[in-house]
Amino acid sequence: MRIKKLNIGILLFVLVGVVPFAAAFIYALLYSFGIIGVANDGFTLQFWESVITSGTFFKSFGYSFLIALVAVAISVGGALWITLKFRQQLETRFMSFIIYLPLAVPGIVTGFFTFQLFSKGGFFARISHKLGFITEASQFPDLVNDGLAIGIIFSFLTMITPFFVLLFLNVYKNERVEELSILAQSLGANANQISRRVFLPILLKKTWVLIVLYFIFLLGAYEVPLILGQESPQMLSVLIIQEIKQYDLDKISEGYVVAVLYTLIVSVAAILLFLPKRKRAYAT
């Protein structure tokens, strides 16, 4: 009975999780080679060639990679620092409410919110104007739709830092880091040694899978870079949608090439990262 139950679970998982994804992937793959698509004339490598030679994909991938990396690094670092310094305060009701709040805000709202705050006609620009720091809207620094992706990174930080704080607080409690720290202290470790040798290794080891998953999630983010990004280079999902929805019907397949490439890279990376180390991660 139990085995049968498991079988049905797997069947449902395959039906709901694997089949649609595989079907979409195969569809994109066929589209990218021109095999399907109303405006296509049959098998061709032309779309792959033009995507790989134009370099837009790699630029966009590198750009997305850097943004996701910076955002994850800052938010993990910030969350660790907050956990280390403000653990006790965070346990009060009010503070935990403040921390939970941003988690309930969808990405698209965060994007608009950031835009309203930091654009040249936004909240801070208006305050600076009233206070006389600037005399014209154009003097306000570029914080959204900018080359350094400051707006995007800011939005990502507000979206994921609270999550990491909550995660680290839980791991801190469950792994008894408090007790271990006291133990280390009684054995003669100073505060610095405790955070470097006890606090950090335990927290990071227990959460690295989630950190990597969040990195991949940010790599494929859509709404925030759509609102706050610039026109070139663009983050991957924005590029893919733009290519697929373009006016030149003969080039729609290029969007599918980008989608296939992106899926392949992320899948391969995920397999390499998670498969061989899975045992070790749970053994410790």
């Binding site: 900018d146 759509l226 929805k245």
Partner: protein, 407 residues
């Protein structure tokens, strides 16, 4: 346990059966010659799905609070609206073609040149049907701005819905003498850096088309079929002009607004001194709703700005073609067109020819057109250019990205 498996199996089986069971009703071709009374009889009681751009409150208000109840009351038709424009419509049609869906989700669409070109390329439109509509007799198809859509003859495959012209928008209190040609624009942006930009969408590309005509030496340079050599020569001049001067554009030309609505906001909050758009700049409702200052005015470029019409089409796999014809005929009636022309409402120019209307209607139309802020179609008329062939737009999109944005 077996029961669950049966249920799952049954569910899958029913899906398969359903997807194979779609039967087409192929009486559609008869509609192209049937008397109007027959079409009306078939249309009665149907549900018609209309896919249209829903990005303006005035338009949504007109459709939801006037058109939907009117067709329900007059013809017992349930008109349902879904959001989507150009690329979404084309994507939908391509997807349904791919899947051999004979009963599509959408019956009628609101389109113009480019989408018309694409839909015809994938054979996504049904027709010709326009001659069948009684109210089509009120339209002057001799007017080339109506009968030709991006240099393509309409040939009854889409019904004109409204006509409009592109206009440049400015604030006369901040800019008493706005630029009217490319050399003046060059000087203007040098004096006021960061106050002009090109939106990376339909609107921006339309501006570039009129720039290209000016660089070619006259309003009619781009008329006729697409000419590769002409395009290459003129677009090179255009990219040179933009790249030489883009350090004076918004954000030093390092990026461009994704769409017109974003550019409008930049104009509204004072970052940009010049904006532009179809529908004679779309000024009236934006001033009335308080987005634009009351000192906003619109004008045409001295070499001309693009004038075009937008249209209603019926999709090839529309399940309710007769219903769609009835709705389109209503949208072309003097009553519906007058309501649409109201300067305080949707504010869009009628496609009906004044000399084909009764005097009573004519007076009403003249009265409805009184705008307080924006220019009228009549005022811009002398500087109108026809839409160039759609390939110009498609190429401009791609090359603007390659030569300017990514440069």
């Amino acid at each position: 346990m077996k029961r669950i498996k049966f249920i799952l199996f049954g569910f899958l089986l029913s899906l398969v059966v359903q997807s194979c069971g779609e039967k087409s009703t192929n009486n559609d071709d008869k509609l192209k010659s049937a008397p109007w009374e027959d079409i009306e009889a078939i249309a009665e009681g149907t549900t018609v799905n209309f896919m249209m751009w829903q990005g303006s409150t005035a338009i949504n208000d007109y459709i939801n609070n006037y058109v939907v109840p009117s067709v329900k009351g007059k013809y017992n038709i349930n008109l349902q609206i879904s959001g989507g424009q150009g690329p979404e419509i084309v994507q939908l049609v391509m997807g349904e073609k791919q899947a051999d869906i004979e009963q599509g989700q959408v019956d009628m669409v609101w389109i113009n040149g480019e989408t018309f070109f694409q839909l015809r390329k994938v054979k996504g439109l049904w027709g010709p049907f326009v001659e069948q509509l009684p109210n089509a007799s009120l339209i002057n198809f001799e007017d080339s701005y109506i009968s030709t859509d991006f240099q393509q003859p309409v040939n009854g495959m889409e019904a004109p819905w409204s006509i409009n012209q592109f206009a440049i928008v400015y604030d006369f209190e901040k800019v008493p003498n706005p630029p009217k040609n490319i050399p003046e624009l060059k000087n203007f942006i040098k004096e006021h850096p960061g106050t002009f930009t090109i939106s990376n969408d339909f609107t921006g590309m339309t501006l570039l088309k009129s720039f290209m005509a000016e660089l070619g030496g006259g309003p009619n340079v781009l008329d006729g079929a697409f000419d590769e050599n002409k395009y290459k020569q003129l677009s090179q001049k255009l990219w040179k002009f933009i790249n030489d001067n883009k350090q004076y554009f918004w954000k030093e030309g390092s990026t461009f607004p994704k769409e017109q609505s974003k550019m409008n906001q930049l104009y509204a909050n004072g970052e940009l001194l010049i904006a532009y758009g179809f529908n004679e700049g779309g000024i009236e409702d934006k001033v009335l709703t308080g987005l634009y200052p009351e000192s906003t005015k619109g004008y045409a470029w001295s070499n001309g700005t693009i004038r075009n019409s937008n249209y209603l089409g019926i999709l090839y796999n529309s399940p309710e073609k007769a219903g769609a014809m009835q709705v389109i005929n209503f949208l072309l009636s003097p009553e519906a067109q007058l309501k649409k022309a109201d300067a305080k409402g949707m504010d869009s120019n009628t496609v009906l020819a004044m000399d084909k209307l009764d005097t009573e209607w004519k007076d009403k139309f003249l009265d409805a057109r009184k705008r307080q802020y924006g220019p009228t179609l009549k005022e811009l008329e002398v500087n109108a250019i026809a839409e160039p062939a759609p390939e110009y737009m498609i190429r401009l999109y791609e090359d603007f990205r390659k030569n300017v944005i990514e440069n």
